[in-house]
Symmetry: D2
Subunit: 377 residues, 4 copies
């Protein structure tokens, strides 16, 4: 019998044919061989749902028409067979309802971000999770990159001295046209308030930029002054914005996030400066962290299991020696691996959790409320 | 029942604790969820073997003490359970013996490179594979990178015109010291003629450079003039070398491969020039292909499923939209995916096969025989 | 007789031993052989002044103790000998007084930026210059870079469509410490309100960022919301700041300028996006302009007299074929060449002039006045 | 009197309208204000010659119809007026005849490379120079780059340990077409044996690559095995080639030089590795020297007068603080400055001299004689 006794049994909501992020979650969950997909409800469209599930090797009885029937159906299975954790890869407005129901059923949750569509519902979810002893992982994929941990740990160790400046920029161009009017599914729901919530760009990518800045700085952004815009006629949600901000450590900074920077791909960049130097990390070249010391000494900290100059927390997230590029899937795989380990072995859950989710919601709400004025969060 | 009916059942020889490439094969095989590891013999050391297999979720009866018992044991299982394909991740001298035995048992083979330790044994293996109708995949990982296919297809389409120059360089630094004298396992067998065969650096990485050049150029290297060296006292195999060469298309070029370029990681670079322009690809930044036209127009062809300017063969190998880096594991996963597809669905096997293996052996033997003189291969 | 009849006779105030920018002006003025330094007052310290002038090959009678005596002394010379233009490379508070006096004497002015220490005095200077028919060149060196002109002309030609976003960042690190307390001359006057005026960082480098953004966009920044800071105890002037802004073309953007980004050298970067694509230019790699089209097509526009894809206005500023790097001195030399041409030949003066100076003053005053509120300029 | 008493009086042969390198020499000579052009013979075509000279501000009597009349005419002038040094910027076959005549007249020589068209005539020139006490500067422009000196000095200081590998590549694309058949002047003489000598590409750029390798390594190349080619029908001289080589320090390496790498600009790159690490320098990004230590530590050594980590010999060649790019003209200006200093002040002449010229000739002759065999030089 080759039954893998030590794999986490995972279910998935969303991510059928035509979706982007569902396949990413599955590849990431597969990578380290610690997780097995056992059930799912991949699409509200029955044909798509069935085809998707079968293509993933699921038996028909584990392919459910909707998330409610999945939770019911799995509850009826013997404990050793039923899912242990559920990935939520749906439009935003369903994140909390599904997570709430899963947690009440004692199922751990791995959710796409943002955690929900407003702060209040996420705060409620936080309580439900706690009450039910459920782990929660938020797909802040970029926090799975090893050199992001290197940056965080260097800042925490005081390598840069007191932090003064934080610049974080997230530029995409894919919404530079009115893509939602030409039938693009991704663009469709992300620009629809009924599915995405009150924010478009800030919810989708602004939260990544915000989360990255707070994570690496080890500080909280406490005040900001933001301007959001929508550049396409008829688009109801923000597709672009920027904010000046201050942290609780008295650092100041700028956050920009835009999906109308035509020609840009997925350009997330963090630059952070303290008294003694600065760090720069670019997601599109994720295996390099640039460290500039105050005297101009410039070092490239390069990813690799064999790089002794990397900190232990960095090397934990690496699989390959230097010069063998790891990327986005490996970053998300790190989140899944830690999530699975926490559930299977009781190890500390270092995955961005519901607290990150709450911070993200606070960020979105502050960005929406600022209208060019300074506001606290 | 969630039994994945459509997964390839894979076994593995080698790749226990402390090995490098075995874990890489497993992650790559896992990534797309098309392959399931069902058995293995991971180490000659029983404790290592058992721990490795169990950590991978294998039942004890599918963890075999050696490759011979694996083949025997699996043959005794019902056809629907036994392995369909075998990954060989051992030192070089075992590649052919294991592949021969597997092929005779009707098992498809996915082998680390070089295919063997001399041309003759690989030629024999080619016949055995053909006689038994077995697929063979060679772990020319770099040929799994999508932009390498873009380069090949652009050359084939005549974008560069007639090819004149090919420069391929593979630089590593990890053998700059006498690492084999300090107990490093990798360095140990790779510098030992009994395990690695007659060549060190050329077998290990020269074959990659050679295979990449021939693949992209669509030409065969027919003559070369090489000098090999060993830079460490007592090291018996080459750790460094270079060759001038000519192709059957009358292009000329230079190939360098070295493992004593201290400080270099895994720097494989191809530059190819024709009448109308040139292409440059660097493995350490694999998501960019630089295309310089003769008039100086410089375009960056960047990886991404959403990049319309990429050719179909390129996009097939991509999983993510532009700006989401894919790397080395994804490249090898492409080989495994095509290999599994060929076996499971009968699709064309586009994985580098035994013919690549034979070319590699011819290359190694020519490099060893040249001693600074021009020689045909 | 080898007397160069067709060279502009230039004088200089400031730029003695220990100064930075004076030598830069001289090298830039020398480069094309169109300008001859004929007199100067390089330092208030007599020894420094004399040594500096002699080292530059000046006769003692053309080395003056101060700018007033220079203007007097030169007025007494025959017209064919006396200076035609004067470079002002002093601390800011002297820019306008010297320029006013020179203009009244009919001498053309090439001034360091900012043009003065407040908008009003620069507006007065503008009138004086007009009344006396004097040319005025402002050392907006970065506007001398050929690829900045390429960017401007591409924007003007509509290559990007309507402009939506402008991001301009200028990061330096040299004032991350309290350098002014350790006797550094540059740091001394630049942080002293009596010499630098009411602003430090915004006057010194913010004006460059602002001028670059307006120049390339071909739009005026009409509103901004800024926060300035001073990060060193006791430092009286801003050393850091950022602003959200809007243009008269309804583009929005962000400007950051900081001299406390420890480890940064002279990192001025412009990114500008329109409906159809974006451009990126980095001063520290000035021979590349990145053009990303909306469909992801990425081209590197590289400097070179032989690059047919560059616009005429770009190639005018280049001296060398592609692959022969030109830099900062060549950029300033372009300003000097155009300035000299305008005076000597009556050609159109394309050098940034007093209008740029006025815009810069308006920018500084708005930045100082904003205090985190939106303000018009 | 503003007569610059301390400037070197320079004459020039060649470099009229339509030439490339003449204007480069003049800009480089101008840059530091230490040199004054006093006479010249810029073209054999009288109109071109006169226009060129006048545009440079020369009086008609210092514009000579040919180099012979220049030497005669200048000899007739008072010593304080006549040229002290002569720049030779003609096709190769005239380098030695003019240099010989100049040296016999006691005039210092600054010559384009290669020094001549064969080893013997350059050896004779070396004696003439010595006999007449004349300085000789060879326009090995790339040896004027400050970070090339940094590399050389780091190697000499043992930072890399014993040198093992040297890779030097010089790739251009401008001769990828038969440009000489379309009236291009540069291409015309450089591919004409009567004007260029026996070698095209090796004489033109191979010598640069060779000189750079020897300079930085501090070793002599003693054996090589080369293949030269000509890729255009009817082209009589090599336009492409490569060589394996060994040095007197037992390092091995590869040199490539090609002018048919379509799309390449002026891509000269040096990589050198020793026991403890490696250095990489690329002419097209000349302000960065990459230092990789054996343990993978990667530092970017960046140009700047304010970079304390640069060695004194590096900083001597810099004019600007870090982040203000200096380029090709500044590199050549460094050669002119040192050359002028040696003549005017008797300081040590650190400019590449006749010995470099001789090495270059030995290199060319070996490359031509090798025909794919190992040969000593």
């Amino acid at each position: 019998m080759s039954k893998p006794a030590n794999r986490l049994r995972l279910g998935m909501i969303g991510g059928g044919e035509g979706a982007f992020i569902g396949a990413v979650h599955r590849a990431a969950a597969n990578l380290d061989g610690r997780i097995q997909l056992v059930c799912g409800s991949f699409s509200r469209e029955p044909g798509n749902n069935l085809r998707s599930g079968r293509a993933l090797g699921l038996a028909d009885n584990r392919i459910y028409p909707d998330w409610q029937s999945l939770l019911r159906g799995e509850a009826a299975l013997p404990p050793a067979e039923r899912l242990q954790a559920l990935t939520i890869a749906t439009p935003n407005q369903l994140h909390v309802p599904i997570a709430e129901a899963a947690a009440r059923a004692g199922i751990h949750v791995f959710s796409e971000k943002p955690a929900g569509i407003n702060f209040r519902e996420v705060a409620d979810l936080a309580r439900t999770l706690a009450d039910n002893g459920c782990h929660y992982g938020l797909a802040h994929t970029y926090l799975g990159y090893p050199l992001v941990h290197q940056a965080r740990d260097m800042v925490a160790a005081g390598t840069l001295g007191r932090i003064r400046k934080i610049y974080v920029d997230y530029r995409q161009g894919w919404l530079a046209d009115g893509l939602e009017y030409s039938g693009n599914k991704q663009a469709g729901w992300r620009t629809d308030p009924a599915q995405a919530g009150a924010s478009g760009c800030m919810a989708d990518i602004g939260t990544h930029a915000f989360g990255l800045a707070e994570f690496v700085a080890g500080q909280k952004i406490v005040r900001l002054c933001a301007e959001l815009r929508s550049h396409i006629d008829g688009r109801q949600l923000d597709d672009d914005g920027a904010a000046l901000f201050r942290t609780d450590g008295d650092a100041s900074g700028v956050l920009t996030a835009s999906q109308v920077c035509a020609g840009e791909e997925n350009n997330l960049t963090l630059r952070i400066y303290g008294e003694h130097g600065g760090l720069e990390w670019q997601q599109m070249q994720p295996d390099v962290l640039i460290h500039r010391a105050a005297n101009g000494d410039t070092r490239l900290l390069r990813a690799g299991t064999d790089r002794d100059y990397l900190l232990p927390g960095t090397r934990r997230g690496l699989r390959l020696p230097a010069g063998h590029p790891e990327g986005y899937l490996e970053a998300m795989a790190n989140l899944y691996r830690d999530f699975a380990d926490a559930i299977l072995t009781g190890s500390e859950n270092s995955v961005p959790g519901i607290d990150h989710g709450l911070r993200g919601m606070a960020f979105i709400e502050a960005m929406l409320a600022s209208h060019g004025n300074w506001i606290s969060l």
